[in-house]
């Protein structure tokens, strides 16, 4: 059980980048435990190192200090067990939606399963984000929201232990964003995935997550506060709008972002 509570274990992590102007300390003293099946949102002002932290969990970068464990194994590099949904969807424009998803499926299950099974998995993943009808279209032929859904399908089809999302709905309009958030809630409830999501949207963070990690302003950002969100699931955005608990969480995050961390940004 102890393993499940510390499914992702980040201890004493610091990240310093070498830039043309010298060393830039992006993150310091990051300690964070994420339980299996937990939905965690990373929130903070832009430039506070949210994406840096996510890239560290993904293994795209390695920390300058400290260590990261996933399922008791050190994170040494990127791997398909930690699937990433990128902010700008990052679909390959010369492949159809089906082939984009298939690329990941083939990588993870190609050695153990037959082609028919791989294709079935791909089709099922596209069905999960209700895009079965657009499977053979290319990314250039579908809307931004659909592209982002294909990106999510690609990540989910790999049956990752952790789903990492870097402002997945940031580039979408408010209505599409709300619909995709609802879909994500449903999908995560069904697949019981562990999710780490970077966001700058307070409502999104409160609506989706079990735990909101609020980060101080950079440079040398760190975790300012961790807010547990104990709202019952399934959650409904309309019902929650009047919920006092929801309001309290929302108030806490806004308070952190604009009252306590707002001044620092002005100074910087």
């Amino acid at each position: 059980m102890n393993n499940d509570a510390k499914f992702i274990d980040i201890s004493g992590v610091a990240q310093t980048f070498k830039t043309a102007k010298g060393l830039f300390p992006a993150l310091r003293d990051i300690d964070l435990q994420i339980a299996k099946g937990e939905f965690v949102a990373l929130i903070g002002h832009s430039g506070c190192g949210k994406s840096t932290l996510l890239n560290l969990i993904a293994g795209l970068t390695t920390p300058t200090e400290g260590g990261l464990l996933c399922a008791n194994k050190e994170i040494k590099g990127p791997g398909p067990e930690r699937a990433m949904v990128f902010q700008n969807h990052s679909l390959l424009p010369w492949l159809s939606c089906f082939d984009n998803v298939y690329l990941g499926v083939e990588r993870v299950f190609g050695k153990t399963e037959k082609k028919d099974q791989l294709k079935a998995r791909t089709a099922a993943a596209l069905e999960l984000v209700s895009l079965g009808h657009a499977a053979h279209k290319r990314p250039g032929e579908i809307s931004g929201g659909m592209k982002q859904r294909v990106g999510i399908a690609r990540a989910l089809a790999m049956e990752p232990q952790v789903l990492l999302m870097d402002e997945p709905f940031g580039a979408l309009d408010a209505l599409t964003r709300a619909r995709l958030q609802d879909e994500l809630l449903e999908i995560v409830a069904r697949t019981r995935s562990t999710v780490v999501m970077v966001t700058h949207d307070v409502d999104e963070a409160v609506l989706l997550s079990d735990k909101i990690v609020m980060m101080t302003n950079g440079p040398a950002a760190t975790i300012g506060e961790v807010l547990p969100v104990r709202l019952p699931r399934p959650r409904n955005r309309v019902a929650l709008a009047d919920d006092p608990d929801y309001q309290r969480c929302r108030k806490a995050v806004i308070d952190f972002l604009y009252t306590r961390q707002g001044h620092v940004e002005k100074a910087a």
Binding site: L60, P78, P80, M84, L92
Partner: protein, 315 residues
């Protein structure tokens, strides 16, 4: 080296032609690019205003008439020049008659130095195809390696910068020395001149593969072969084809000059041979033939490039 052959009356103009042809590689690139956009522009304007018949007709007229006027202007200037030089330069009409006669039998053979213009043209195209094909076989993989590995890039970029501005004709003597034959030396010259645009464009294409796609590859943990076939190749292809187009253009420019020096069979040699026979009409015909073939090569490659490029590359 060959300047002893020049005759007096047209010496200045011939020298000018020669100097421009040997300067070709650096100067030709922007010119061909501009010509390409100019050739494409009327097609675009034609399709835009096309709601009713009048608009459509006007668009068509705008697309067809200006080029015709330009061509007419060329013929007019040609006539004036021909008249002012007396019998030195033949006029358009005489040249046309000669061309009709010439092209009524393009494939004849009367000994090694007297063959139809068709054979000469084919011989030149064959050399270009061979030299260019070899350059593609070496240059494209080299471009991939240079673009993918920072070390190789740093190692070879100064070398390329040093060798690229050298006129390909300067390599001809080396080719003659090494291959001990005129034909392989000409192919070698084509190889040298067409390899640079292909290496450089491919390398630039590889370096400009969006980091997002490479991050996808890293997160999916794809093998290097899979990265090459599913991410690098498709995203580099448009750049590669630009390199190929520039290379073919340059190769076609250089082959004429190279053949003038090496002799044998070929359109460049044919021009030189007709000059020695003082048959200026055939030289003018050759200029048109070279231009038209170059235009066709370019158009074919643009067609190829647009067939292989996909939308949504930048977003």
């Amino acid at each position: 080296m060959v300047s002893a052959v020049f005759h007096s009356p047209l010496e200045a103009s011939a020298a000018e032609i020669r100097s421009t042809s040997s300067n070709t590689p650096p100067s030709c690139l922007p010119v061909t690019a501009a010509a390409v956009t100019a050739a494409l522009a009327p097609a675009r304007t034609e399709s835009k205003p096309g709601r009713d018949w009048r608009g459509h007709g006007r668009g068509l007229a705008l697309a067809v008439l200006p080029p015709l006027f330009g061509l007419g202007l060329l013929v007019l200037v040609w006539m004036l020049v021909a008249q002012s030089t007396g019998s030195g330069i033949p006029g358009p009409l005489e040249t046309w008659r000669q061309a009709v006669e010439l092209f009524s039998d393009p494939f004849y053979r009367k000994g090694p130095n007297d063959q139809g213009v068709g054979w000469n043209l084919l011989a030149s195209l064959e050399r270009v195809a061979l030299g260019f094909g070899l350059a593609a076989a070496v240059g494209i993989p080299a471009g991939f390696a240079l673009g993918r590995s920072a070390l190789l890039g740093r190692m070879f970029n100064p070398l390329i910068s040093l060798l690229r501005p050298v006129s390909p004709l300067a390599w001809l003597p080396i080719g003659l020395l090494v291959f001990k034959g005129a034909n392989p030396a000409a192919i070698w010259t084509i190889f040298i001149c067409s390899i640079w645009p292909m290496i450089i464009n491919t390398a630039v294409g590889v370096q400009r593969v969006p980091q997002d796609y490479l991050n996808v590859a890293r997160v999916l943990n794809l093998s290097e072969w899979k990265i090459l076939t599913t991410i690098l190749l498709p995203s580099v292809l448009p750049y590669m084809l630009t390199g190929v187009r520039l290379a073919v253009g340059t190769a076609w420019l250089v082959i004429v000059a190279a053949e003038m020096l090496t002799g044998g069979v070929g359109i460049g040699f044919w021009v030189w041979d007709e000059w020695n026979n003082l048959n200026v009409k055939n030289i003018i015909i050759a200029i048109f033939v070279i231009g038209i073939v170059g235009l066709l090569l370019e158009a074919a490659l643009i067609k190829l490039a647009s067939a292989f490029s996909y939308e949504d590359v930048k977003s």
